[in-house]
């Protein structure tokens, strides 16, 4: 278990900058997920921590050691690769023992550690097999086992679930969560799947466009996204944005008015908000409800309907051209082209012209 500190890291591939001034502090034993769309630099960041990419500027500390100039094998990290990267010509036992042999661990100790890891992961019977004889899920376990036996200070996971089918992914996710309890180690997971990040990580680092957009617990990221990118990227279906103007409402709280004048009461004092030429109101589907026409905030036309069984997603188009998604009961009778009323019933978010988000003060 070790604390990890990234200090002002930058990286470019040739003339193309891929990471700008990244700083991050990860506590010992913490599970952090790097979340972002492909090409945001999250994998590069992970590979820099592992030592697979050089560091152009900045420092990396693992525990008390500065590691950015050390070779990958000397950093005390283990990594689970996206395509597992098992050595095809070695047995499962040899795959797991390879790193320990390089580290000159005693033979008896190697056997004990491999046996222990194989027991935890329930892959004992595969030890004499070659990777080619195993299924995708089994290979995944071996890849994790190969990391475990090294007892590293830090585990790195590079999109470890992306090669599994949906059912197996769910199961492996649960197992990973359990494994994490048992191992009690510092872990970093790179993923583009928000569900993985939300369910596994203590904290999420949302990345986009070479930079960290927000660092926070899954609930913070969801409830108080720092900007429009995070608000859109986390949450499915994504938050909708409506152009609004702000005026003063009850108790000095800001009231967001749509084009036709209908207003939504926010929980933010207008005085706390900066001045901005334009404002957008962010509404998550669960905060929007479908009601009878004329009884809601405004009337809207149903663009289409997605029935998910337990609930129904109703995609609405407003008279002023704005679009948003509302949640309705699984038994909803909404149909395309119906005119319905829209009610806002839940937390809303305000975004200024710079796309920065504004939320009510956190309850104290």
């Amino acid at each position: 278990m070790a604390r990890v500190r990234l200090d002002r890291l930058s990286k470019r591939f040739g003339a193309v900058p891929v990471l700008d001034d990244i700083s991050l502090d990860i506590a010992a034993g913490e599970f952090v997920a790097f979340l972002g769309p492909s090409g945001c630099g999250k994998s590069t960041l992970l590979r820099m921590i592992a030592g697979l990419e050089s560091v152009d500027a900045g420092q990396i500390h693992i525990g008390d050691r500065r590691v950015d100039q050390l070779p990958p094998g000397g950093r005390g990290v283990a990594m689970v690769f996206q395509h597992y990267a098992l050595y095809p010509h070695m047995t499962i036992f040899e795959n797991m023992a390879f790193g320990l042999r390089n580290a000159k661990v005693a033979k008896a100790e190697i056997e004990a550690r491999v046996a222990e890891a194989a027991r935890i992961l329930e892959i004992e019977r595969f030890l004499p097999s070659k990777p080619g004889q195993l299924s995708g899920g089994q290979r995944q376990r071996v890849a994790i086992g190969r990391a475990i036996v090294k007892k590293p200070d830090l585990f790195l996971f590079d999109e470890p679930l992306s090669n599994l089918d949906a059912a197996l992914r769910l199961r492996t996710r649960l197992e990973l969560a359990q494994l994490r309890r048992r191992l009690d180690a510092t872990m970093i997971l790179v993923t583009h799947d928000q569900v993985e990040a939300m369910t596994l990580a203590d904290r999420i680092v949302v990345m986009s466009d070479r930079r960290i957009q927000q660092i926070g617990t899954p609930m913070e990221i969801y409830a108080r996204p720092a900007n429009r990118f995070v608000a859109t990227f986390v949450g499915s279906p994504p938050m909708a944005f409506l152009d609004v103007t702000l005026n003063v409402g009850a108790d000095g709280l800001a009231r967001a008015a749509l084009a036709d004048g209908a207003g939504v009461q926010t929980a933010m004092p207008l005085a706390d908000l900066p001045s901005s030429p334009t404002w957008r109101l962010g509404v998550r589907p669960e905060a929007a409800k479908v009601v009878a026409p004329g009884t809601g905030l405004v009337d809207a036309k149903i663009a289409f309907v997605e029935r998910l069984g337990d609930r129904t997603l109703v995609h609405l188009r407003l008279a002023d051209g704005g679009a948003l998604t509302a949640e309705d009961a699984g038994t909803s009778r909404a149909a395309m082209d119906d005119i319905v009323g829209l009610a806002i019933d839940g937390p809303v978010h305000l975004f200024d012209a710079e796309d920065n988000a504004h939320h009510p003060r956190a309850p104290t």
């Binding site: 030592g51 697979l52 990958p72 094998g73 690769f81 996206q82 395509h83 390879f98 390089n102």
Partner: protein, 282 residues
């Protein structure tokens, strides 16, 4: 060979006719070989009168007996074996190292150097022979074993093949091994090299065969009979055709000299075909 790409079927009659044509063509193909075998089994003085006597007895193994009594042929056989093995081992070693270097490592001038090596594919052996011969004379390498096998090591094909092969292995494997604390050399030796065995086999067979059958360089470099390879040795007795010890003997020599490679071919046919055609396409 799988039957995946099969043209539309044909009638049994057509199939039988096609088969007959193939048999005839195959017979034409092997006729010179059978003729050679036949001649080698006849007494020399009988052939002197009429080679047509091959179609009837008596047959004799006398010519093969004479070969066994000539030490030179065995010396040539040994030379060929030694030179071909050294060339093959050398090419495999140099090509594997260089292939790994070009495919996986970053160093100044890498692209440029690889292009330079590719350029070598266009240089025929014959066009460097004059200066190469001068060089080997100056170094007193003619009529030595290193003199015979060293030029074979300079062929760029192996480096090209191994570079392509290393490139096809996922880089994740190197990375996993580096994270497992392996040195560059250990990554090469324990992780990647075992995965290149099919390419090693292809390159090894191709190199051995080319070296074994090479006539051009040993003809120029080996001028003393005891340093002849089998190809040059057989050629030398052929050029003295007129005063040779006899047709039957000459043909027995042809059979004797081709037997090892044909035997190897029969056993390893699949690999040899793959190696040779793989090398041609590059």
């Amino acid at each position: 060979m799988s039957g995946s790409a099969q043209p539309v079927g044909r009638s049994p009659w057509e199939a039988r006719a096609g088969f007959a044509v193939m048999v005839v063509l195959a017979l034409i193909m092997v006729l010179p070989l059978l003729w050679t075998l036949g001649l080698s089994l006849k007494a020399n003085n009988e052939l002197l009168r009429d080679t047509g006597s091959v179609f009837h007895g008596p047959y004799t193994l006398e010519n093969y007996g004479s070969i066994l009594r000539r030490a030179a042929v065995f010396r040539w056989l040994g030379n060929s074996l030694l030179v071909s093995l050294c060339t093959t081992l050398g090419v495999l070693t140099l090509s594997s190292l260089a292939g790994y270097g070009f495919a996986r490592l970053e160093f100044p001038g890498r692209r440029w150097l690889f292009a330079l090596v590719l350029f070598g594919l266009a240089v025929p052996e014959q066009s460097v022979i004059i200066t190469r011969h001068q060089m080997f004379s100056a170094l007193h390498l003619h009529n030595t074993y290193p003199g015979l096998f060293l030029p074979g090591l300079s062929a760029p094909f192996g480096v090209f093949l191994m570079t392509q092969y290393f490139k096809a292995i996922p880089v994740e494997l190197d990375e996993a091994a580096l994270l497992d604390g392996a040195s560059r050399l250990r990554v090469f030796w324990s992780v990647l090299l075992p995965l290149t065995l099919p390419a090693q086999a292809t390159l090894g067979i191709f190199t051995f065969l080319s070296s074994w059958n090479d006539y051009w360089w040993p003809l120029i470099s080996a001028t003393r009979s005891e340093m002849f390879t089998l190809t040059v040795g057989v050629a030398s007795s052929q050029i003295n055709f007129a005063q040779t010890s006899g047709l039957g003997f000459l043909m027995a020599q042809a059979v004797f000299a081709s037997a090892p490679i044909l035997a190897v071919y029969v056993v390893f046919q699949k690999y040899i075909v793959r190696a040779v055609s793989g090398a041609a396409v590059r």
